[in-house]
Amino acid sequence: MNPLAAIFHRNAWNVFRRDFMAWQKYAFSSVAINIFEPMAWFLAIGFGLGAYLTLGKSSLVQFIAPGMLGLAALNAATFDACWGAYERLNFNGVYESMVTAPVDPLEIAAGEYLWQAFRATLYGAIFLVVIAGFGLVHSWWCLLSLPLLALCGILFAMPGLAVAFLVKTQEHLFYYFSFVTTPMAMIGGVFFPLDKLPHWLQNIAWCTPLYHSVQIFRALISGALTPNLLWDLLWLIVAIALLAYVPVPFLRNKLAR
C-alpha cells in the first residue's frame, strides 16, 4: 500500500492520538521551546539587523516574517520526527508494543506524518499570529498558510523519520541537523533573497523543499499571488509522493529484529 493512502487507515489516527496524548502532558514546554528560539532569531535579525538594511522597497523584517512560517514547520517536524521517533523506536518500546497488535509499520509511519503535520501547523500558526501582531500580514490569503503548514509538516517529517529509523545511535541525528536542516534553513530563502548568491548555490536552494514552501508563504502573507507559485506547490507535492515511501522499510527492518 502507498504510505499516503495509509494516512486514512484507522491505525494511523490511533498512532496520531497516542502522540497527541503524550504531547499534551508537556505541551506548554514544547510550545515554549519550539517558539522561543526561532522568535529570537526573528527579532534579532528582523529588527536588529534589519534596522541597518533595506531590501528595495521592503524592510528585512517584512521579508523574514513569512519565511519564519516555513522555518517553524521545519523545526517542529524535524525535531520530533528525529529525536522523538528515535526514542519511540529504540528506548520507549512504543512502536514495539504497537506491532504486537495488528498494526503494520506502514501505518505507524503514516501516523507520524499526521502527527508532524499537526505540530507544524500549530507552531506555524503561532508564528502567524505573532507576525500579524507586528502588522506584517497583509492579506486574508494568509489563512491558506495553515494547510500549507500541514503539507510542510508531512514533507519535513519524511526524511527526518527516515534518518531516525536508520541511525544506530541518537547522536548521529546531529549529522542530519548539521549537514541538512541547518544549511537548508540558511539558504532556503528565509533570511535573505537568493538572487545575489552564486548560481550553483541558487540551484541547491531550488532543490530544497524549504525554498519552495517559503515562496508560497511569502505570497500568501503579502497577497501578491502569481501563477508561478503552482510550480512550487507541485514541487512540494511531488516530493511528498516520492519521499513517503522512504522511512517505511527502515522502520520495518528495525521492528523485525
Binding site: M21, N92, A101
Partner: protein, 309 residues
C-alpha cells in the same frame, strides 16, 4: 481456513538465523488449545526468538510455523488479532499513564470510546491495579508494570497469551501474584505460552514444556514425565563422600550417579532404602541432603552442571 481443529501453535523444523548466527535450530513442537506450554532455558537459549516468531514480530528463516492453523509469516494481522503478547521488557509507554497505555493499545483492535474506558477499568481492576490508573509508568513497581503489561495484553480477549519471562526480575510476592493470575487465565481456557528460566515456575504452571539450550529442544513432556525420564523420583546428595573410591555396591538402587566438586548426586526411587543400604555398607549417618527430584535436576542433567561461560 482450518482454524478450529488446528492446534494453537505447530512448528516443524523451525529455524531462525540472525546473519550467520543460528539462534533457533530446526525445532519441532506443538501446543494444544487451552494448555499452558513452557519454554525453559537459560539466557541465549533462543526462547525470545521463538516467541517473536509466534507473535509475528519477526519471520522464520526456514521451517514451518502455524498459529491457529495459519502460516505465521503470511497472516500476521489475523493472528495478532487473536493473541495477547507480554514482551520480556513490557514495552510500556513511559509517556502515558497506566490506563492510557491500555486504551491506546485497545484502539489498535478497534476498541474505542466508552467501551475502551470500561474495558480498561475492568482489566486494571482484575490485575489489582485500582488507584493506579492515572499513574505514570515510571511511578510503578516492577510487579505493577508487569501487571499493566498483562492487562494490556488481555484487551482483545485473546484466545492465547504469549508471555516472555513473565516473572523475571519480580520479587517473590509479585511473582506469586502473577502465577495466580496465569492459573486463573488457564482455568478460563486461555492458551498460555510462556518462557522461563525458573524451573519451579515451569513445574507449577506448565502442563507441558520443552527444555531449550543453544537453539535446540533437548526434551519435551509434562514436568512429571521429564523428571521420571531424565532424573528419578528422589535425589540423595552426599557431601564429601566419593562412593567410587569406596567401591560401595549400590545393588541397582541408584539409577544414575554424578559427582560435582564435593557433592555426589544419587538418583533413586527411594531415599530411605538407599540410606539404609549405605548404612549397612558401612557409611552410616553421612552428611547428606535427601529430597524429591525437581525439574532443576532434569535441566542440569540435560545441559550439564558446569557453568557454560
Amino acid at each position: 481456513m482450518p482454524t478450529h481443529a488446528a492446534p494453537a501453535v505447530e512448528a516443524r523444523g523451525l529455524t531462525k538465523r540472525y546473519g550467520d548466527f543460528e539462534a533457533v535450530r530446526a525445532i519441532d513442537f506443538s501446543i494444544a488449545r487451552q494448555e499452558c506450554f513452557g519454554f525453559l532455558g537459560v539466557n541465549g537459549a533462543g526462547k525470545t526468538s521463538t516467541m517473536k516468531m509466534i507473535y509475528c514480530r519477526t519471520t522464520k528463516t526456514s521451517g514451518r510455523l502455524d498459529v491457529f492453523g495459519m502460516d505465521a509469516a503470511a497472516h500476521p494481522r489475523e493472528i495478532k488479532a487473536r493473541i495477547g503478547v507480554v514482551t520480556q521488557d513490557n514495552a510500556l509507554d513511559p509517556e502515558l499513564t497506566a490506563a492510557e497505555n491500555v486504551m491506546v493499545y485497545a484502539s489498535f483492535f478497534g476498541i474505542t470510546g466508552a467501551t475502551a474506558r470500561a474495558k480498561t477499568a475492568a482489566l486494571l481492576r482484575t490485575m489489582n491495579l485500582e488507584g493506579k490508573e492515572r499513574a505514570r509508568i515510571a511511578e510503578l513497581s516492577g510487579g505493577m508494570k508487569r501487571r499493566v503489561a498483562i492487562a494490556r495484553a488481555l484487551v482483545n480477549d485473546p484466545e492465547m497469551l504469549v508471555l516472555d519471562e513473565p516473572t523475571t526480575g519480580l520479587d517473590p510476592q509479585a511473582r506469586l501474584a502473577v502465577w495466580q493470575q496465569l492459573l486463573d487465565f488457564r482455568a478460563r481456557g486461555i492458551t498460555l505460552v510462556m518462557t522461563s528460566h525458573y524451573m519451579e515456575e515451569a513445574a507449577r504452571l506448565c502442563d507441558r514444556l520443552v527444555i531449550m539450550d543453544d537453539g535446540r529442544i533437548l526434551a519435551e513432556g509434562t514436568p512429571r514425565s521429564l523428571i521420571e525420564q531424565f532424573a528419578a523420583p528422589e535425589v540423595l546428595e552426599l557431601i564429601g563422600i566419593d562412593l567410587g573410591a569406596l567401591r560401595v555396591p549400590l545393588d541397582g538402587l541408584v539409577r544414575r550417579q554424578e559427582r560435582h566438586g564435593e557433592i555426589t548426586y544419587l538418583y533413586t526411587d527411594d531415599n530411605a532404602a538407599l540410606l539404609a543400604h549405605l548404612a549397612s555398607s558401612g557409611i552410616s549417618a553421612p552428611q547428606h541432603v535427601a529430597r524429591p527430584a525437581t525439574l532443576e535436576d532434569v535441566f542440569l542433567n540435560l545441559t550439564g552442571r558446569e557453568l557454560a561461560e
